[in-house]
Symmetry: C2
Subunit: 342 residues, 2 copies
Amino acid sequence: MNEVNIAIVGATGAVGAELIRILEERRFPAGEVRLLASPRSAGKTLSAFGHDVTVQALSDDAFGGVDIAFFSAGGSVSERFAPAAAEAGAVVIDNSSAFRLQEGVPLVVPEVNPEVIADHSGIIANPNCSTTIMLVALHPLHKAAGIKRIVVSTYQAVSGAGAAAMDELIEQTRDFVADRPLQANLLPVASGDVHYPMLFNVIPQVDGFDEGDYTKEEWKMVRETHKVWGDDTIGISATTVRVPVLRSHAESINVECERPLDADTARRLLAEAPGITVADDPAAQQYPMPVGATGLDDVFIGRIRDDDTVPHGLNMWVVGDQIRKGAALNAVQIAELLSESR
Amino acid sequence: MNEVNIAIVGATGAVGAELIRILEERRFPAGEVRLLASPRSAGKTLSAFGHDVTVQALSDDAFGGVDIAFFSAGGSVSERFAPAAAEAGAVVIDNSSAFRLQEGVPLVVPEVNPEVIADHSGIIANPNCSTTIMLVALHPLHKAAGIKRIVVSTYQAVSGAGAAAMDELIEQTRDFVADRPLQANLLPVASGDVHYPMLFNVIPQVDGFDEGDYTKEEWKMVRETHKVWGDDTIGISATTVRVPVLRSHAESINVECERPLDADTARRLLAEAPGITVADDPAAQQYPMPVGATGLDDVFIGRIRDDDTVPHGLNMWVVGDQIRKGAALNAVQIAELLSESR
C-alpha cells in the first residue's frame, strides 16, 4: 500500500490525541503527519508514529500535499477550513456536524454503509457519537427485521463536550471532597448562559435547543440515522442526557421491528456482527458499563429483552467509547477504506 | 383531630430519618412516637417531635397501642413483623415490596388512587419509588387522554439502595481524589456476588434479575402501575439504571395515548395537578435535575415534547426525590388520609 500523507486538525484535543493513538495502533500507512491546531497551540510538540511533531497553526494553505485531512476541532473550524483542504486535493474526514446533512457529503459508519464512501467530492462526514454507537448496534437487527421505530434515551459521558469538560468533572470531584463549592463553567453548553454542576447530577440537555423543544443532539440522532440508512420513514424519538461519566456513552434503546425478531435471535445476530461484543449474562450480572468499555473499539450490547408491549419489540442497552468508536476510530476506519481503494 | 400513636420500623435508616422529619414538618398529630429498629440499633437516641426518643428493638409485641406503623426496613422485616403489627390493631403503611401485589392490600399514591385506602385490612402498601414518581407525573395525562403504552428508562440515585450505598459513593469519590482503588461492596445488589464501582459509571441493573431477563425493579414498574391504575392492559416497557447521583431519581418517559394530547396541553394539565411542578423552559435552559429536586416534595417535570413517531405520543423528563415522594412523603400522605378519616 502506498504511503498516505495525513493532517490532523484539532490535534491537541481529546479526539485529536485519540486519532494519533489509533492510527499508530492500527499501523496506518502514514507518510507525512501534519498536526494542525489553533495559533494558541502552534509550536507545541506531540509524539506521532515515533517522532516528535511540532503543531502548526491551521491556515488555508496548510494542506498542500495532504491526502487525508482529519477534522475534529468543532463545526465552525470545519466550515471555515474543510473546503480549503478539499480544494488543495485532500479528502476531508470531518468529525463535526458542519457537513453531515449536506447533499453530496457521504455520512459513513463503516459497519453500516461503507459503499457510499466512493461518492465523496472531497468531504466525508463522521456521524455524531451517539448516532454512530446506536447504528453499529442496530444495523444487524435492521437488516434482519426492518426497524420501524426507535425510542432511545442516552447516558452520555462528559468527553462529548471535550477534554475541558472531563477536567471540570474531575475538578468538581476534588472540590466536593475538599468541601468547596463546585465550579461549573462548561455544561450543558459552554457558550450558553447557564451552567450546572455535573458531579452527582444528571443534565437532560446535550447541545442547544432546536425545533419542537428537542435538542440539536436529539435531532442529530434522528436525521443522521435517516441519512445513513437512507430511509426517513423510520420513527426515531430521542432524549439525550449527560451523566457524570468521563468517556463512554450508554444508550437505553427500545425498537419495534416490521418483521418477527426475538431476543435470542437478536443476541445471535449481534454476536456475529462486526464491531460488536455482546455482554449479556444476567445470571452472572454481566452487561456493558462505561467503566468496562472505555479505551476499547467495540460497541458493547447487553440487557437484550423481548418487549411484548408491541409486536416484534426489543429492549437493549448499548455502550461505546465516545472518543473511540464514537469519533476517532470511526474516522480512522473511513481513512483505511479510502487508502485501500487508492 | 385526635392524636395518633405511631411506630416507625427502620427508624435509623435513610427513609426512617426522613419519615420523622416529614411528620414533624407537616405537624402530623402524633401522640406517642415509638422508634423501632434491629437489636443492633436499639438503645440509640433519636430526636423526634422535639423529644429524645430511645430506639427499641423490633419484636412481635412492640405494637401495643400503636395506631399507625410505618415500615421501612426491607421486605423480610415487613413480611415477618407487619402481620403482628396489624394483628395488634395498628394500620401498617409498608414501604417494602412484601405486600404490594397482595390482594386486599391497597397500593396507594395519594395523588392517584386515595379512594382505595379505605379497603385495607391492616396493611397498606407504598409503591416502589420509581413507580410512585412516574405515576404522579403520568396520572393527569392518563385521565385526560388514556395512556396505552409507556417506554421508560430510569436514572436512579444510590439512595434507593440505602444510606450505606450513599456513603459508599462518597467514599469512592474520596478514593478517586486520593488516587486509591475504588472499593465496591454494595451495588448493584448488596447480596449479590458481583459489585461494581458507581463513581463515573452507570449500572444497568437495579435489584435482582427475574422473568424475561427484566429486573425486579423493572417488573415493579409494570405490575405496580397496573395495580394502582387498575388496568393491566397498559403496555409498560422499563429499563432501570443506577447512576452516580446521591438521592433523586430521574426518568426519561415516552408515552403513547389513546386520544389526542399535545405537549402544550400536557404542560397545562401537569401544571394544574397536585404534587407536580412543571419546570420546562428550554430557552432559559430550565428543566428538572436531581441537584435541584433533592429535599423537595414535588415531582418535577420538564422536556415535554410532542413525539410524532406515533399518534398522540409525548416525551418527558421527570425528577423526584427518591427518599421523599419516592418513599417517606408518600407514606406520610397516606397516614394523613387515614388520620383524617378516623
